[in-house]
């Protein structure tokens, strides 16, 4: 499945934001994530489904640098 992460296409098998977070090794703290422009708090990551073409924005350290 293809999604967009920070405006760049990404192929992933993750079907939830929680799995994607593990795949991308997102840190425990200091990360802000939005799916289709809506911010998702960490406690909802696992239950937030991802599907084809979704747009994910991740504000975190050591990303894109």
């Amino acid at each position: 499945m293809q999604i967009n992460v920070n405006n760049k296409p990404l192929s992933t098998t993750a079907t939830s934001l929680g799995t994607l977070a593990t795949e991308l090794s997102l840190p425990e703290k200091g990360v802000a994530v939005a799916v289709n422009n809506k911010m998702v708090p960490r406690n909802l990551w696992e239950q937030t489904p991802l599907s084809e073409g979704m747009s994910v924005v991740i504000i975190k350290a050591a990303c894109g640098g």
Binding site: K38, V57, I59, A61, A62
Partner: protein, 216 residues
């Protein structure tokens, strides 16, 4: 993704504003206190950090690289006259978010290569909140800039800033912009709480999640 930038008005102190933003559902706060002493900044910053922790929100401070560790901030935002991003990165290391201000694609490219983690790009239109204005960008400007960011393959979130009101947000988000930084639009609203609700609502393409977020 909305970033609330602290500001004070006759009605609200810095901390009042941050409390309003968090309570309304915003989860990304930048503490900006231009002109304050470091001691004042630390005092307010400690409270702001606690508030952000309570809401599991990301806490960024403006300009003061040397206070990031002391406050346990998640990151720092650097304006055009602040410390260069590469230098801040050397001092702070890789586990701190660094945001940079940009007015053009060239600024974004420079910050991206200097290891910035997000960009605040503006001003969208004329604003009275911030002195020292750069040329306004407008919708067409964001469209052009974001197209170049995509073409260059830069995976960096670009947040629009500067004189943005709730009515502008849907059109700006259509340009590929990742988020909106707001301050005056919220604090100067007759009813800031309602304004935040309105701001978060049009972003909301997933109603079930929106309810959870807006509900606190």
């Amino acid at each position: 993704m909305i970033q609330f930038i602290s500001h004070f008005t006759e009605r609200y102190s810095y901390l009042d504003g941050i409390r309003l933003a968090l309570d309304g559902g915003i989860r990304w706060v930048q503490l900006r206190m231009k002109g304050a002493t470091d001691a004042e900044f630390l005092r307010t910053g400690e409270e702001a950090r606690k508030l952000c922790d309570r809401y599991d929100a990301t806490f960024i401070i403006d300009d003061r690289v040397e206070l990031v560790r002391e406050l346990g901030a998640d990151g720092v935002h650097l304006g055009k006259k602040d410390m260069p991003i590469a230098e801040a990165r050397r001092i702070l290391g890789d586990d701190v978010i660094i945001g940079g201000t940009a007015n053009t694609f060239e600024d974004i490219e420079m910050h991206y290569r200097a290891s910035a983690n997000y960009i605040g790009c503006g001003p969208f239109r004329f604003t009275t909140t911030k002195e020292g204005l750069s040329p306004i960008i407008g919708l067409e400007g964001y469209r052009n800039i974001m197209q170049r960011v995509r073409e260059a393959g830069f995976d960096i979130p670009v947040v629009a800033i500067g004189g943005i009101t709730s009515d502008d947000i849907p059109a700006i988000m259509q340009t590929g912009i990742a988020g909106i930084a707001l301050s005056g639009a919220i604090l100067r609203a007759d009813n800031p709480k309602e304004m935040i609700k309105k701001i978060l609502a049009p972003n909301d393409s997933q109603p079930s999640m929106g309810r959870v977020l807006n509900g606190k």
